[in-house]
Point group: C2
C-alpha cells in the first residue's frame, strides 16, 4: 500500500475525553473515530488491525474444527423470552421494536439463536460434537461507555458455541477451545495469562479468562510465580491459615475511639497493626412467598480482618447466602442498636447469623466495634468473650504474599485486560430451550454446551495498553496495520531515493510483506513521528546520504537507534526478522 | 474441508413460505436459516458463498483505490436529522432509543456518517479525491420482506462513497467505480447488464444499475441487441415517432360503448386496433402557502396510446409536474363532469392542462372517452376537433420493438435483478451537512460526492435465479462454496477408494483448490443429490469399479453425463478447468 492511496490522519493531541493510553493513541493514530458514546468508526488504519485479529482467530477456530456461520444482529425477542433473558437482562440489552411493534434485541451474544439452530438442525448423537462460531457486530448499552474500544457499546466479538452429547465430550470440546485460544494469543505476540475464573452455579473449573497483562488493566489477576497457578480475583482461594488459634493473652476492654469508624483509623489510634482489627459487614437475605412478598428476613454478620476485602462471589456461594444483599441502616440499628462504623459481634439486640473468614477464626486478642458509637472492644477472644461462629469460610480476596492454593509458593497479583473467555455452560440453555438430540438408545437428551468469546475490537486496545511508549503504539508484527514502512527522504529531490524506495516496495510486496510506502512527501521528522505513533514495528529510511554508501537505515520500533544496512541486504534481513 | 468437519444440512422440500427459486434452493441447500421475517442466519454453506463475494468485491475496490473502513451499525439520529432523512424516510428506517432515550437508527446506508467523517478529516483539495467503502450489516424494515436474501430486512451491503473537488473529478471517480463494478461482475461469472438509470433531480447520465439477467427478475431492462444501449424502464427514452401526423380521414362521432371502460374493451367492441385508442390519466398538483396549506390545485390531463403505460419518473420530470399526484374522483368529476372510465379531452366542465405523449400527438382518427358514461368518441383529430395540446412529451414506458434511442435498431426487454448501483450524488449531502474543503485559492467548496453499492447477500440469490436447474443450484466457479467435491463411493468397504480420495484431497488442497471431501459415508445417490442441490460445479466420483481401470469419474454440474478420467490426470484436468 502506498500512503497516497491510503488514508492517514494523525493528531498531535488526544481528545479530552480519552482517559486511557490505548484510547488516546488509537484516536491520535487515526485508527478510530468517535460517532457517539461508545460508538466508533474503525478508520482504515484501525480496520487493518481488526482484520488481522479476525484472520488469526478465524484460522485457529477453523483449525480447531469449529464451523463459521453468521447470525443476525437484529434478533426477535421470542427466543430471548424462552430463556428469560429478555426480562432478566438489564438495560444493557438494547431492545427495539420494528414497524409492526414486534420486539427485537440487538445481539449482545447469541446463545439463544445458536441453541435454536442446534435444536432444529441436530437430531442425533451422530451429529455431535459441533462447534459453531461467528465474528459479528454486537451491542451492549453500557451505562457508562468509556476507554474507546475497551468498553464500547458497539463492538465486534468472536463468539463460539459447542454442542456435545455428554459432559465428558463437552469437557473435551472445552479443552480444544482453551488450546486454540492459547495458540491465538501466542500468535498475537502478546503477554497474557489464562486464569481460572468463577464458573457460577455450575461448579467445576471449566471457566478461564484470557487476560492481556497490562499495568492499566481493570482486572486483578492472581498467580503464583513458582507454578502454573493463575486465577482471577473472584476465583482465587485464600487458603486456611496453617497454625492453630493462639491462646488469649489480653483481657477484653471497651476503649473509646471517638470519630474513628474505620479499621485503619482505629488501628492507628490504638497503635496496633491493621491485621489485629476485625471489620463487620452486615448482610441480609429475604424469604419470599409465592406472591413474591418478603415474609422473613435473616440478618448476617460477616467478620473479616481489617486489612482484607470481602469477595462477593465467594460469599454468594455460601449456604443460605445465594441471594444476599447488604442490610439497610434500619435493619442494622434494629439488630445492633448502633449505626454502622462501630459494629461488632458482641452485645447484639437481636440474634444474627455469624459468618467468619478463616483468618478471623484463628485470631486472638482482636479489636472490633463495641456496638456503641465512638467505642471499640480490644482483646476480644473466641470462646471466652463470645461463642464460636455459626460458619467459618473463605470470605475474602487474596492479597499478594498469601500462600498459593497449589502449595507451590506465595501469590502475586498483577493487572490484566480480559480479551477472551472460555466457559462450560452445561445444559443451562439447552434445558431452557428444550434443545435435545436422540442418544444411542433413541432417548432424547439435553445437549451439553460451552461458549467461547474473544473481543475482536477490544484486543487491539489491550495490545496497546501492553505495548506503547511515549512516542506511540508498538504493535507486535502479527497485529500491525503494516509490518514494514518505507520512508523515502526528500524523494522529490532525489530520483535515486525514489527509485530505491519503489524497488524495495515492489520486492517486499512480491515477498508477501504487508508493506507501506510513505509517498506523501512529508518532512522526515513528521513522517517518522507519524509511523512511531501508528506503531509500525519495522521502518526503513531511504535517504541520499546513506545511499551514497550503498545503505539504507533500518529502525526497529523498540530500538533507540537505527542501523545502517546495505540496500542489497535489507529485504533478506527484514524477511528474517518478520514473525508473521 | 472434510464434510465430517463441516456442517451440511439439506432438505427434500422447501418451506411453504419460499416463493422464488433462489429462496427455495438456498433453504433446501442449508445455506440460510430463517430467524424472523426477512432475517436470516447465514449457515456455514451460505456464509462461504458470501465470503467469496466479499473477497472479490474487496479486492477490486482496493484495486480501484478505494479505502476500506467500517462505520457503526447503530448510528446517532443527530446526523440523520441534519440531512432531514431521520424525518423524511419512512418506517423502513429502523429507529431506536438507547437507555438514555437518545434516538438512534440502524444504518440502511451510511451517507450521513461518511460525510461527517469527510467534513472532519478532509480539509484541503490536496486530500481529494478519496473513496471510502465498507462491507457491513445493514437493516431496512421492509413492509413486506420476502424472497429470502433477495428482499430481506437485515443484509450485508458494500457501500462506497467518493469525495471530489469538482464535477470533472467526481465524474472520473464515478467512471473508476463503474469500471471496477464491471470487473467485479465479470469475475463473478454472471450474465449481467449495466443499465442507465434515472439520476433523479441531478440530471446527466451518471447513474447505472448492475442487473443480473434472470427471467424471474423484478426489474424490466431495456436494451438494444444491435448496440451497447441498455437502460432501466424508468430511464429508457421512447423516441418521437418518425413521420408527420396523417391527415384526418374520419368524422368525429359519439359512439355508445356501454360498460366498456378500458381501452382494450372499447377496441374490441369497435373492432379497432388498441393502438387507435387513447387513454386519459388525470393528475393534480397543489400549490401550498407558507403554512403548508393547499391554496390552489391544478388538474392535468395526460393522454397516452391505449397500448402504452405511463412512466411516472418521466412525468415527474416535466415542468410543473415535479410533485404530481393522481387526481381524486371529486376533482375528476368537477372538471370532466364524468366519472373515470369514459374520460377524454373534449367537452370539459373546467379547463385542465393537456399533456400528450409524443405518439398520441401524431395520431389521427383516434378514439377516446366522451366524458359521458357509456360513450366514447371515434375519429377524433387534432386541430379539427380540439386544439393542439399544452405540452407534448415522452410520457410512456418503452415497449419491445420501439426504436433504440441510439438509432442502432429496435429495443428488446428482458428481466433483471439489481445487485449493484453506481450513482453521482453531486453536493446533495455535502451541502446539507456543510462538508467543505479549501480549494487552491483557500476558498471553501462543497465536496462533490458519488455513492456505489453492491448487495453482498443479495448477489448469491441473484446468481441462483440465473443459474439453476431442476436438481439445484449451479454456481459459477468464483461463487461456489466449494469449487470441487470429491465423492468416494462405499469408502468404508474399499481401502483403495478411501486412499485415492484422501490422496486427491491432499493434492488439490496443496494446489490451493477449495475442495470438499465428502467423508460422511452417505449412499452415492443421496451424496450426489446433495452436491447437485448445493451446486458445486466440479465433482469427482471415486469408486471401486472405475478405479480397477485406473479411472475416476468427473462430473461437471452443467453436463448431463460424467466422463472417465485417469486418476493420474484428474488433478491436472481440474486445475486446467478452474476459472478462479
Amino acid at each position: 500500500m502506498k500512503a497516497s492511496q491510503f488514508f492517514i490522519s494523525t493528531l498531535k493531541e488526544a481528545p479530552a475525553d480519552a482517559e486511557v493510553v490505548s484510547h488516546k493513541l488509537m484516536m491520535r493514530a487515526g485508527m478510530i473515530k468517535k460517532l457517539g458514546a461508545g460508538i466508533y468508526t474503525l478508520m482504515p488504519m484501525g480496520l487493518r488491525v481488526v482484520q488481522k485479529v479476525e484472520a488469526i482467530v478465524r484460522e485457529e477456530m477453523n483449525r480447531a474444527g469449529a464451523v463459521e456461520l453468521c447470525m443476525p444482529v437484529v434478533q426477535p425477542a421470542e427466543l430471548w423470552q424462552e430463556t428469560g433473558r429478555f426480562d432478566k437482562m438489564g438495560p444493557e440489552l438494547l431492545r427495539i421494536q420494528d414497524r409492526h411493534a414486534h420486539d427485537f434485541v440487538i445481539q449482545p451474544t447469541s446463545e439463544e439463536v445458536v441453541t435454536d439452530i442446534a435444536r432444529q438442525e441436530i437430531r442425533s448423537y451422530k451429529q455431535l460434537p459441533k462447534n459453531f462460531y461467528q465474528i459479528q457486530t454486537k451491542f451492549r448499552d453500557e451505562r457508562r461507555p468509556r476507554f474507546g474500544l475497551m468498553r464500547g457499546r458497539e463492538f465486534i466479538m468472536k463468539d463460539a458455541y459447542s454442542f456435545d452429547r455428554d459432559q465428558v465430550s463437552a469437557k473435551a470440546s472445552y479443552q480444544i477451545m482453551a488450546k486454540a485460544y492459547r495458540r491465538i494469543f501466542d500468535r498475537f505476540g502478546l503477554t497474557y495469562r489464562a486464569v481460572a475464573a468463577d464458573s457460577g452455579a455450575i461448579g467445576g473449573d471449566l471457566s478461564e479468562e484470557f487476560q492481556v497483562i497490562a499495568a492499566t488493566g481493570e482486572d486483578a489477576i492472581v498467580y503464583c510465580p513458582g507454578s502454573n497457578y493463575a486465577a482471577n480475583m473472584e476465583k482465587a482461594e485464600a487458603l486456611a491459615p496453617a497454625g492453630p488459634r493462639p491462646a488469649a493473652s489480653q483481657a477484653m476492654a471497651k476503649t473509646p475511639t471517638p470519630g474513628q469508624s474505620t479499621c485503619a483509623d482505629v488501628a492507628e489510634l490504638l497503635g496496633l497493626p491493621l491485621a489485629q482489627t476485625v471489620k463487620s459487614l452486615v448482610l441480609a437475605t429475604d424469604t419470599l412467598n409465592e406472591q413474591g412478598e418478603v415474609v422473613k428476613t435473616q440478618v448476617w454478620l460477616l467478620l473479616l480482618r481489617g486489612d482484607h476485602d470481602m469477595n462477593e462471589v465467594k460469599v454468594g456461594k455460601l449456604p443460605g447466602l445465594g441471594a444476599f444483599r447488604f442490610a439497610t441502616v434500619p435493619e442494622i440499628e434494629d439488630h445492633f442498636g448502633c449505626k454502622p462504623g462501630y459494629l461488632g459481634p458482641l452485645n447484639l439486640l437481636k440474634p444474627v447469623k455469624l459468618v467468619v473468614d478463616r483468618e478471623v477464626a484463628v485470631m486472638n486478642d482482636w479489636v472490633c466495634g463495641a456496638n456503641e458509637v465512638d467505642f471499640h472492644l480490644t482483646g476480644v477472644n473466641w470462646g471466652r468473650d463470645l461463642p464460636e461462629p455459626d460458619m467459618v469460610a473463605d470470605l475474602r480476596n487474596v492479597v499478594a504474599g498469601d500462600a498459593s492454593p497449589d502449595g507451590q509458593g506465595v501469590l502475586a497479583i498483577e493487572r490484566g485486560i480480559e480479551v477472551g473467555h472460555v466457559f462450560y455452560l452445561g445444559t443451562k440453555y439447552s434445558e431452557a430451550m428444550k434443545a435435545t438430540f436422540l442418544d444411542q438408545n433413541g432417548k432424547p437428551q439435553f445437549m451439553e454446551m460451552g461458549c467461547y468469546g474473544i473481543g475482536i475490537t477490544r484486543l487491539p486496545a489491550a495490545a496497546i495498553e501492553q505495548n506503547h511508549d511515549e512516542r506511540g503504539i508498538i504493535w507486535p508484527d502479527a497485529l500491525a496495520p503494516f509490518t514494514v514502512v518505507l520512508c523515502p527522504i526528500n524523494a522529490e529531490r532525489s530520483p535515486e531515493v525514489k527509485a530505491t524506495a519503489e524497488a524495495l516496495y515492489a520486492e517486499l510486496l512480491a515477498a508477501g510483506v504487508d508493506v507501506m510506502l510513505d509517498d506523501r512527501g512529508e518532512r522526515p521528522g513528521a513522517m517518522f513521528a507519524d509511523w512511531e505513533l501508528i506503531g509500525v514495528p519495522h521502518r526503513v529510511n531511504i535517504g541520499d546520504r546513506a545511499l551514497k554508501e550503498g545503505n539504507v537505515e533500518y529502525q526497529y520500533r523498540r530500538d533507540a537507534a537505527a542501523s545502517a544496512v546495505p540496500v542489497a541486504d535489507i529485504v533478506a534481513q527484514l524477511l528474517a526478522k518478520l514473525k508473521v
